[in-house]
């Protein structure tokens, strides 16, 4: 009976953390640069493919450590891509309407899909969950895969870390001040362009990292790019214009609702995420966490 009531909660939390891990970099870039990055999914996918290739080349029997290290390497490579994208695309478009960076990122999404096909081909791939994360914990009839617990923990850790950085470190305060008033920050001697470049690099790093970390959960195909994008946009906005706490809470809220909804109304799976999203936007147009940037 436990599974009947708590199962959807557990699974909803897991999906929530998947969406959250995907959306962190997106939130950061949107919160500070106000760019709604369609290509985020593309670079998430590149991170996943990179991690896949690394696993195939270096670690046929994946240990948990290797898996995490590989994800970090994938994140760094994607972060470097971010540097290029920032220089060539985002920076020139900084003074133009946000809508134009939207097409630019859409174009980047297409390019990243094409690039993945050219490099890795179009076949489906998947890798094993590292042995240590393979089993499941069982409580009554509730089965909780260790990997899912790991991802939930990772999501919470990632959130806590970002929250701590934002609230308690000088870097975090700097980020918040640039986010709320870049002009003033520039006046006070912050090198805003370089700061933006760093944010994009970190945002892309997070995309690549998430790609690597979530690799065992997903089938790898060139369609992966657009799988989470719409949901991530949803939690980003429902959370409140790109603040990390809001994104975190919105991920949990929407995914848990969707999880229960899909179990109860199994004829229309997946609809409840969007129903909840629309309802939230109507009830709280300012977002869950209003006002705060980041």
């Amino acid at each position: 009976m436990l599974a009947l009531f708590l199962g959807p909660l557990f699974n909803g939390l897991f999906t929530a953390m998947v969406v959250f891990l995907f959306a962190t970099g997106l939130t950061l870039v949107f919160g500070i640069l106000r760019i709604l990055n369609f290509a985020h999914g593309g670079f998430f996918m590149i991170g996943a493919y990179l991690a896949f290739s690394l696993v195939k080349t270096f670690a046929s029997d994946t240990s948990t450590i290797a898996y995490i290290l590989i994800s970090i390497v994938a994140g760094i490579v994607v972060g470097l891509c971010g540097l290029v994208v920032e220089r060539l695309v985002f920076r020139p478009l900084q003074h133009v309407d946000e809508a134009y960076s939207l097409i630019a990122t859409y174009a980047l999404l297409l390019i990243s899909e094409g690039a993945v096909k050219a490099i890795w081909g179009v076949s489906f791939h998947s890798i094993m969950t590292p042995a240590a994360l393979g089993g499941a914990l069982i409580a009554g009839d509730l089965v909780m895969p260790v990997f899912a617990i790991f991802i939930i923990g990772l999501g919470v850790l990632c959130y806590s870390l970002l929250e701590w950085i934002l609230q308690h470190t000088a870097t975090g305060k700097l980020m918040k001040s640039v986010a709320s008033d870049p002009w003033m920050a520039g006046m006070l001697g912050v090198n805003v362009p370089r700061f933006y470049a760093w944010i994009v690099v970190i945002g892309f790093f997070l995309a690549g990292l998430a790609g690597g970390l979530l690799l065992p959960n997903q089938t790898l195909s060139p369609n992966l790019a657009s799988v989470f994008v719409v949901q991530a946009f949803g939690v980003l906005i429902v959370g409140g214009m790109g603040n990390i706490r809001g994104t975190f809470l919105a991920s949990i809220l929407l995914c848990v609702i969707d999880s229960y909804g899909s179990v109860i109304f199994s004829e229309v799976p997946g609809v409840f995420f969007y129903v909840a999203m629309a309802a939230m936007l109507l009830m709280r147009p300012q977002g869950l966490i209003a006002g705060a940037r980041l």
Binding site: L36, L88, V89, P92, L93, H95, V96, D97, E98, A99, Y100, L102, I103, A104, Y106, A107, L108, L109, L110, I111, E113, G114, A115, K117, A118, S226, V230, F233, G234, I237, V238, M241, E267, V268, G270, V271, F273, Y274, V275, M277, A278, L281, L282, P285
Partner: protein, 336 residues
């Protein structure tokens, strides 16, 4: 002065429209069926883009779910034509448009109350995802395999009856309808209501302090754009003779946005240019299997970087620079 200015716009636009019409009408005589099919589809996409720009360029509303109205119009037409085959097709097309407007009205009353800007965008995105998923689940609408067996109707006009199923009749009918819709949109944009829209797009609060009921006019803009798109969707149903939920997908909603921004927001012709460029790109890369994404993506990127005001914005800047009449501002001020 004013009358002269608007007169010249009218004449210029009418001339451009006439040239486009001549090309479209003569296509079946000079090219293959493949091109004619693409041109017909393009005409619908043009209306799709123009109506989106009525919201964005004219009223300052960003919708990420415009495709859902295209789908709503198409499915409404197909379903009505199936259960009530006796109804005059023109009534069905009008009905589909009204239905689209009605849905937009209901959504708009809720959504436009407070949330505008990116919230409205994401809200419409959420709604379009719901439409997309429901269309792919409802058995009566054919699920994700699509609504099949849509016939091209016979059009009785009192004095004569035209069988739209034969030859290129439906193509011509569609071109005529799209022209009507485009003229209608042009008229709305340039008339009294258009001026109100434009003022809201520029500064909604200022407009309110002129006594303009901003929400009501946003709603009007949303309803007109959605209704027009719904008619385009209804026209699409017998054109393809099949509807699939894909036409409600967010990637299809991205189309009018791409058209408009690619072509240029400020000009009426922006979405037209964007749609044509896109169609040419797609046609040109149709045999470059596996490379089309990279090519289309790169071209889009280059255009955005080179002409951040859209192709038409870039052109007019170039022309200004050549004429050296006006002081060229650093960048065109793009209004959101």
């Amino acid at each position: 002065m004013m009358s002269q200015a608007s007169n010249s716009t009218w004449k210029r636009d009418a001339a451009i429209a006439a040239i486009i019409l001549v090309v479209l009408v003569s296509l079946p005589f000079v090219t293959s069926k493949g091109i004619v099919f693409i041109a017909g589809t393009l005409a619908l996409h043009v209306v799709f883009g123009l109506s989106w720009n009525l919201m964005f360029g004219q009223t300052g509303l960003v919708s990420f779910g415009h495709a859902s109205f295209f789908a709503i119009g198409g499915y409404a037409f197909a379903w009505a034509a199936k259960i009530a085959p006796g109804i005059h097709p023109l009534l069905l097309f009008a009905g589909a448009g009204l239905f689209g407007s009605l849905v937009a009205l209901i959504v708009g009353i809720l959504a436009l109350r407070r949330s505008i800007g990116v919230y409205f965008a994401i809200l419409t995105l959420a709604l379009s995802q719901i439409v997309y998923l429901l269309l792919s689940y409802i058995p009566a609408l054919g699920r994700e395999d699509g609504f099949t067996g849509i016939r091209r109707p016979r059009l009785s006009l009192g004095f004569t009856t035209i069988d739209l199923a034969s030859g290129n009749n439906y193509y011509y009918f569609m071109i005529a309808m799209c022209t009507l819709l485009a003229v209608g949109l042009w008229w709305v944009m340039h008339g009294r209501m258009g001026r109100v829209f434009k003022s809201i797009q520029q500064d909604a609060e200022r407009a309110a302090f002129l006594g303009i009921d901003v929400q009501a006019y946003r709603l009007r803009s949303f309803a007109i754009a959605s209704g027009t798109t719904a008619i385009a969707g209804a026209l699409y149903a017998p054109w393809l003779q099949l509807l699939t939920p894909e036409i409600a997908h967010w990637t299809f909603s991205a189309r009018p946005i791409l058209y408009t921004l690619l072509g240029g927001v400020q000009s009426f012709w922006g979405p037209v240019v964007g749609a044509v460029v896109f169609a040419v790109l797609e046609y040109g890369t149709r045999t470059l299997h596996g490379l089309s994404e990279i090519i289309i993506g790169s071209i889009l990127l280059v255009v955005v970087l080179a002409f951040p005001g859209g192709l038409l914005g870039g052109l007019s800047r170039l022309r200004k620079r050549m004429n050296r009449k006006t002081i060229v501002t650093a960048r065109p001020e793009i209004v959101r």
